[in-house]
């Protein structure tokens, strides 16, 4: 990894080091210069203008900053940008291919699974990772997969329905599912 040493001094001491990292974001190769303390969520939002990734609790509880890092959902608020060097990242902006809504996104619209919308990008990415590994999940599996994504509008019933519809499985949400 290339580092940029800045020898100029600030009043607070030597300037912190800069590092050059390479990311593949939504299929596009991107090169970014970051400080050691840069968080992936801030690099995506502030450097790459991908503001679809939301910031909520910033402590790994709410899941609104969920992105796919090499295919697995992670909280981008708890990943240093440097830790993602060389990785492939998918944000919500990368889900709709060629301007067409992904099946999951269409199902969220169809089933009215969006209320305020703040949790939606994270929900979609968690669901996307689930369906990639398990195309026909059971309802408890759906609930377990989105357990790290909080919807404070409490719209879980329609969210579970939407994911089930995208997976073409029947959701029996009225009886209540038990997440493991």
């Amino acid at each position: 990894m290339e580092t940029i040493d800045d020898t100029r001094k600030t009043t607070a001491g030597p300037k912190p080091k800069r590092y050059v990292i390479d990311l593949t974001v939504n299929g596009d190769p991107r090169t970014v210069v970051v400080k050691g303390n840069a968080l992936l969520v801030n690099v995506l939002r502030d450097e790459l203008d991908l503001t679809g990734t939301k910031k909520g609790c910033e402590l790994g509880d709410c899941g609104s900053c969920t992105v796919l890092l090499d295919g697995t959902p992670v909280d981008a608020c708890l990943v240093l940008a440097l830790e993602a060097d060389g990785s492939e990242i998918v944000t919500i902006e990368g889900v709709a291919a060629h301007g067409e809504l992904d099946r999951l996104q269409a199902a969220f619209v169809d089933k009215a699974a969006v209320q305020c919308g703040y949790c939606t990008p994270g929900m979609i990415l968690s669901a996307k990772a689930l369906l990639a590994g398990n195309p026909h999940p059971t309802e408890p599996e759906i609930r377990a997969a989105i357990a790290g994504n909080l919807c404070r509008c409490t719209g879980y019933v329609n969210i579970v329905r939407a994911i089930a519809a995208a997976a073409e499985v029947e959701a029996v949400v009225e009886q209540g599912g038990e997440a493991r």
């Binding site: 990894m1 912190p16 080091k17 590092y19 400080k35 050691g36 303390n37 968080l39 910033e58 402590l59 790994g60 509880d61 899941g63 969920t66 890092l69 697995t72 959902p73 992670v74 909280d75 608020c77 708890l78 990943v79 240093l80 440097l82 830790e83 968690s126 377990a144 997969a145 357990a147 790290g148 038990e178 997440a179 493991r180």
Partner: protein, 290 residues
């Protein structure tokens, strides 16, 4: 919420990592998954001048069965690596199940076993089941390497015997053993993403209906994960029955010294120990390693 400035290092070898840690001294912190360290740094509880990432050390990520040694879990394996490991499914499914009870999917994809142990919070989900399965760990320093039984590793809340300026936890070993069943039961305030109010792990060695040996470890009811020796004594050599397991549950609650906090009162936790011990034993006896 922002992190203070620090230098970032991602050494290519374990030896290099140990040397860096020794050279940089107490101002450096080891970064594994980051799900605990970065939160502490955001809160200003730790302010390292340098962070040493174990990102490049892929050899610390494997989970294998080594005949004669047992199941060897690399310290950098994430909780979801444990959940999905065919080796653990074959030998100790209970460890996969316990890993699945920690936090949520996103955190399980980042948080590592080694980080979970070194962070040493009393309510952690993995220590009870690992201690019940008699695990030991390897700590590697720049010139040293030592083996520590996990039940002696923890010394208090957020305290353990690792030398923070020299040692790195590299592996957890679950030795080959005669145990016939084990399980970890957790009670949290939600099914997902909640810290344990009380957790109980039990491992038993059965000969027919006779309990030859057992190990019971309690989480979140003592400053460290603690063995319930009194309960184990109740069981040793006896034929199991629901009454006997209830008696063991009572004995286990005498081994706990819980506090009252935001998640539950001390009295409630004692009652949970009693009930969860009974249920965990029954599950381990009747269902094997689950």
């Amino acid at each position: 919420m922002f992190l203070p400035d620090f230098d970032y290092h991602a050494p290519e070898t374990l030896a290099e990592a140990c040397d860096l840690l020794r050279d940089l001294g107490p101002s450096a912190k080891i970064l594994a998954g980051g799900t605990d360290l970065l939160i502490k740094m955001k809160h200003g509880l730790v302010t390292p001048r340098a962070v040493i990432s174990l990102k490049a050390l892929d050899e610390l990520k494997t989970i294998t069965h080594v005949p004669g040694r047992g199941v060897v879990i690399g310290a950098r394996a994430t909780h979801n690596d444990l959940v999905n490991s065919p080796v653990l499914h074959e030998h100790f499914l209970s460890v996969s199940e316990a890993a699945h009870k920690m936090a949520n999917n996103q955190i399980r994809n980042r948080g590592t076993v080694g980080g979970n142990l070194v962070n040493a919070i009393p309510s952690a989900d993995l220590p009870p089941i690992l201690i019940a399965l008699d695990a030991w760990i390897t700590l590697v320093g720049s010139n040293t390497s030592r083996t520590v039984p996990l039940h002696t590793f923890f010394t208090g809340p957020s305290c353990c015997v690792i030398d923070p300026v020299d040692e790195i936890l590299t592996e957890i070993v679950l030795p080959d053993q005669p145990t016939t069943g084990s399980t970890y039961l957790k009670f949290g305030l939600r099914r997902s993403g909640a810290l344990s109010v009380t957790g109980v792990a039990a491992a038993v060695t059965m000969d027919g209906d006779t309990i030859v040996d057992s190990r019971i470890c309690l989480g979140a009811v003592f400053p460290v994960p603690v063995r319930a020796h009194d309960a184990e004594d109740v069981l040793r050599g006896k034929t199991w029955s629901d009454e006997l397991l209830a008696e063991a549950g009572e004995a286990a609650s005498c081994c706990a010294l819980p506090i009252t906090d935001i998640r539950g009162t001390a009295e409630y936790r004692l009652d949970l120990v009693r009930v969860l011990t009974k249920r965990a034993l029954k599950r381990a006896i009747t269902e094997g390693h689950v």
